[in-house]
Structure formats: C-alpha cells, structure tokens
Amino acid sequence: MITTIQIIVLVFVVFAASRVILRAKDKKISVTELFFWLAVWAGLTGVVFFPELTAPAAAFLGVGRGIDVIIYMSIGLLFYLIFRLYVKIEELQQDVTAVVRKEAIDRKKKK
C-alpha cells in the first residue's frame, strides 16, 4: 500500500537528485558532494518507504518513534549546514574586501 506522502516524497527526491546530478555534470559540485547528497536523498526515500528501518535507531537513542529520530537529526543537520554557509559567506565577503582594498591601495601608489 503506497501512501500519498510516499508519492510526494518520491517525486521530490527524483527532482532533487536530478538537480544534484546536473550540478555535478557542470562540475559545480565535487564527486564527494555528489555522493553525499545522493545518499541524503536515498536515505530519505528508504525511511519513507520502510519506516520500520528507523526503529532500531529510535530504540538505541531512547526516542519514542523512528520518525522522530529522523526529524531531530534533520533539524540538527540543517542548522549545521546553515552555520557552515554563514561562515563561508562571511569568509567570501572578507576575501572580496581584501581584493578591493589591495587594488585601491595599489592603484593609488602607481600614480
């Protein structure tokens, strides 16, 4: 018996995975990142179609339901990824400033 949510998730996963593969083809992301994201989406599919898979993890961690474990972990992962993005953007900003600064000073000195 396939539920509606399983169909929705499947469609979304196919879409998301296709994006990942396209990005990898364009060499916008590395092979490691390709496998990381494919594993994330494959994992999601597995969990949605076989929720009982998460039961051992739930029992081990002492969380009531398997699906809750997934949700807690997803939120944790999301926060971590956002933090990494934040730091990366900040670094990029500082790099841009350093280049602009060097160029401004060099241009002044040449005159």
Binding site: V96, T97, V100, R101, A104
Partner: protein
C-alpha cells in the same frame, strides 16, 4: 608627528567638498578619503582637493573603507590616525582634542564622545539606541564609555597596527571595543560636538539595524 585623517565616503557628493575644505583650512594633517564605490561624484570632488583619494571598486561598507584608509596611512608612515565622518557632523577644530592625548602618550586610542560633549539636534530615538549601545559594550567588553558608536577617533600607530577590523559593515564601531579589550589598549574619551541635520539623519542607521548589530556583537563575542 605625522597625522593622517581617514574618511570613508559613500555617496557623499553633497557634503564631501565642504567637509574637506573645512579640514584643509584647519591644517590638521594629511587627509585620506576612501571612496567606497560611490555611484555619484564623491571621488571626483575629493580628487579636486589636496587630499589622498583611494577608490574601492565595489561598495564594501564603512568598516572596510576605514581599514583601507588606515592601512594606507600606515604605509605612508603615519604616527597618528584620526577617523572622521564624511557627512559633516563633526567639527574640524575637535581634531586637536582627540589627537592631544595620543600625542601626550596618555592613550593608544581616543574616542570622541557626543555625550561628554554636545549633540546638537540629536533625535530622541537615536539617543536611546546609543545609550543601549553603551550598556551592551559595558556588558560584553567591560569597557566603560559614554558613546558606543562614535566615528570620531584617534589611534596611535601602535594601536592602528594592532587593531584588526574584519567586519565590513557598520559593526566596525563595536569591533573597535573588542579590539581594545583583546589588545589591552589604553583608551580615553574626550568631549566632541556632533551636529545632526536632516542630511545626516537620513544617512544614519535605522534602529532596526541596531538590533541586528547587537545580535551580531553577541554572536561574535561568544561563538567566534
């Protein structure tokens, strides 16, 4: 002693000419204008005066522009560096007041305070935000000052070399306090006059920005 006055300017064509003339008339030192990627004639006007003009090809924020000016002044052999605003809120005769304690070696960094001095026509909302800023600086950095967001400062060469400004946008004012604490610099506040008019008020920060600023300071203090 070689004094450099560093001014960060972003779209200040209406005021920059007058501000530079008033500084040149005061003969208080070399003037460095950092045009922070302005879209107007700021750089052109500055270049018509007897000042050093550096141009950022992209707008990087006031903190970034000041740092560029400070780096340049250090390379040109500055002994004292003054940071000054481009919007005409400060009085050139106050420069001597902020520079004096550095010259006498009483302080590595001198901060001009509008609350010790005079704040002409300051909007009430601005006053509240600034006073909250004072509290935040006291709580986070254990530095007791009366004006947390003053752009009028004098730095000794030693202080200018030690202070690392990494935040590009407006947070640089609070970053100075962080750097004062980190480097254990001797600091002093002196009274200055700040004049508010419609122009400077419209150019100033919105109070919502100040909340963002406070959060960033917290983040930086405890997480970075």
């Amino acid at each position: 002693m070689k004094t450099f006055i560093v001014i960060a300017a972003f779209n200040e064509e209406k005021k920059i000419g007058k501000v530079l003339d008033s500084l040149l008339a005061e003969k208080c030192g070399n003037i460095v204008v950092v045009d922070d990627g302005s879209a107007d004639n700021t750089a052109k006007i500055a270049e018509s005066k007897k000042v050093h003009v550096l141009k950022h090809s992209l707008n990087r924020g006031q903190g970034a522009a000041l740092k560029t000016g400070i780096d340049y002044a250090l390379q040109e052999g500055a002994d004292i560096i003054v940071t000054y605003d481009a919007d005409g809120q400060f009085l050139p005769e106050d420069i001597e007041k902020v520079v004096a304690p550095v010259k006498r070696k009483e302080a590595d960094i001198v901060l001009g305070s509008r609350f010790l001095g005079k704040a002409v026509n300051m909007p009430f909302s601005k006053k509240i935000v600034l006073k909250l800023g004072v509290l935040v600086v006291l709580l986070l950095y254990r530095i007791k000052i009366t004006d947390s967001q003053s752009g009028f400062r004098a730095l000794s060469r030693k202080a200018a070399e030690k202070i690392k400004l990494t935040t590009d946008r407006m947070e640089h004012a609070s970053e100075f306090f962080w750097e004062i604490m980190r480097n254990r610099l001797k600091y002093k506040e002196v009274p200055i006059t700040v004049i508010y008019d419609d122009y400077s008020i419209s150019k100033g920060q919105k109070w919502t920005k100040s909340i963002e600023l406070g959060l960033k300071m917290l983040f930086r203090r405890f997480l970075m």
